[in-house]
């Protein structure tokens, strides 16, 4: 039973957290690709930027002596999301919109976004330094230990407060996004433009407005994903830059341009990563008692060592692209 609880902790909870982070960020990547037809490489750094915005707000609040029952970084998240959404809009206005106005090709925009990556990382290092920070310097990180009263378990299931909050918040956001895309006039226009931009223009849809809304949503969700990551581990300038590749893998696996695909892809990659680095030897230990003494189970039976976790996303990517080249949900191929 203890072995199973270990599995719950390391695979199910860790996978749900990682999957939520990937899903939130992959939605932004896939929406930007659907509307603007380019791979927004700076998305990871937009997440880091959002996490820093949340961190600054939380620091200011605790400096002002504010305390609440919940982590400050989480409580102030809506404000941080709004600010990051505004910054995303500003980045588009300053760097991408002028290129679009000149009819730049997607590859030019991709390269511009690599420039934006370097710029955001540079600015963060310049103003915040290179050290790791924690959201929990001034407040405790509540850890729930849920005792399992059956099966002779002695280990509790361990889950932290930010993990619980973030998984719940992701569910709420995904439902809100679904309602926006299927019920609202602008959400439908967004899907229409991702489907067929020329026809959207011909129909009189205000494509500039759709582009702005896309950046607002992508920026807000990037902030949420980044803050989630920072709450779970720690905040540093290359926080989300390191996971931009699995995020893209999640978006592509789900089918580029498909918001639901990005959610599915995010959780698929998240769980696959935690499953792959899980030490299966732990679950198989009970077998040792029935096996003859001459057969010893190895101590480490993980599929990939933790350091190679990133490769998992690419294995999934390759398999999905071989079996279903347009992704799980039929996405754009161009």
């Amino acid at each position: 039973m203890n072995e199973f609880i270990f599995f719950v902790d390391k695979v199910l909870i860790a996978g749900a957290v990682l999957g939520s982070i990937y899903a939130l960020s992959a939605i932004g990547v896939t929406l930007i690709f659907g509307i603007l037809r380019f791979a927004h490489f700076a998305h990871g750094d937009m997440m880091t930027m959002g996490a820093f915005v949340a961190f600054i707000l939380a620091s200011l609040a605790s400096a002002a002596g504010l305390h609440a029952g919940l982590p400050m970084g989480f409580l102030l998240l809506p404000f941080a999301m709004a600010i990051t959404a505004g910054l995303a809009l500003l980045i588009d206005k300053s760097f991408y919109a002028p290129l679009r106005a000149r009819g730049a090709k997607p590859v030019t925009l991709l390269i511009a976004s690599i420039g934006v990556t370097l710029m955001i990382q540079g600015l963060i290092r310049l103003f915040a330094g290179v050290q790791s920070r924690s959201f929990f310097e001034t407040e405790p990180k509540t850890v729930y230990r849920i005792a399992v009263p059956f099966g002779g378990a002695t280990r509790p299931i361990v889950i932290t407060e930010p993990e619980v909050l973030m998984i719940l918040a992701t569910i709420v956001i995904v439902i809100a996004l679904h309602l926006f895309l299927t019920r609202s006039r602008l959400g439908k226009a967004m899907r229409a433009m991702a489907d067929n931009a020329d026809l959207a223009r011909v129909s009189g849809i205000n494509t500039q407005l759709v582009v702005r809304v896309t950046w607002l949503i992508a920026g807000a969700l990037a902030c949420m994903g980044g803050t989630m990551l920072a709450l779970d581990v720690s905040l540093k300038p290359d926080l989300a830059f390191n996971i931009v590749l699995p995020i893209f893998a999640a978006a592509i696996v789900g089918g580029l341009g498909q918001a639901y695909g990005a959610i599915a892809g995010g959780y698929l990659v998240g769980f696959a990563e935690t499953l792959a680095v899980f030490n299966w030897s732990v679950l198989l230990q009970p077998l040792q008692r029935v096996l003859p003494a001459s057969i010893q189970l190895p101590a480490d039976l993980s599929i990939v060592p933790t350091e190679y976790k990133l490769t998992v996303a690419f294995v999934i990517l390759i398999i999905v692209l071989l079996v279903r080249p347009t992704g799980i949900f039929k996405g754009a191929s161009t």
Binding site: N196, L199, A200, V202, S203, G204, I205
Partner: protein
Amino acid sequence: MPLVELSAVVAGYGGAPILNGVDISIEAHDIGVIVGPNGAGKSTTLKALFGLISVSEGQILYDGREITNSEPDRLVPIGLSFVPQEKNVFTSLTVQENLEMGAFIRRDDISETLGSVYDMFPPLKEKRRQPAGELSGGQRQMVAIGRALMSRPRLLLLDEPSAGLSPRYVMEIFEQVVKINASGVGILMVEQNARQALAFASKGFVLAAGRNRFSGTGRELLDDPEVAKSFLGG
């Protein structure tokens, strides 16, 4: 006053112009049909009128005001609507969502217009929750025309609405075009099925090499032996 009037329009895709001075004039009660050989500039004329390619010379008047080189998001609110020949539905959106997108510029209640489009094309009402990409060619064309009607246009531009359709659907689409016109919408369409289309056209324009070659009522063009010989296949 004509509803729309193109005077000596020169336009193209950046290189040599495709249109070398096209004149077209349509009244609010007209069905205008543009015919001509491939590459004559028929579709290009509609695109120039709808601001999808840039006009370098000449002018376009709509309802007396100049709309030369106006973008679609300005033209749709003043009463123009365009049905492209290809990729003219949002395949991943449901039929109803497609129609709603046609009414994007409207902030008033669209249910009445939606009802009239469903009355016009009953199969669409049945399939209103299905993605438009799952429909047959003829039904897609209904969605495309329905979408264009949702903005309540005064002038409807149709680029080869019968292309690729079975004869049954061609007749049905043409019948609906006549009905739409009877409800007070001016029509300007490009057609490959020239004989069939000219039969109900109140105005016909034969284009060749980016210029007007013949104009007249549909009947006049059909009866003109030279038009028949050169452009209608004898």
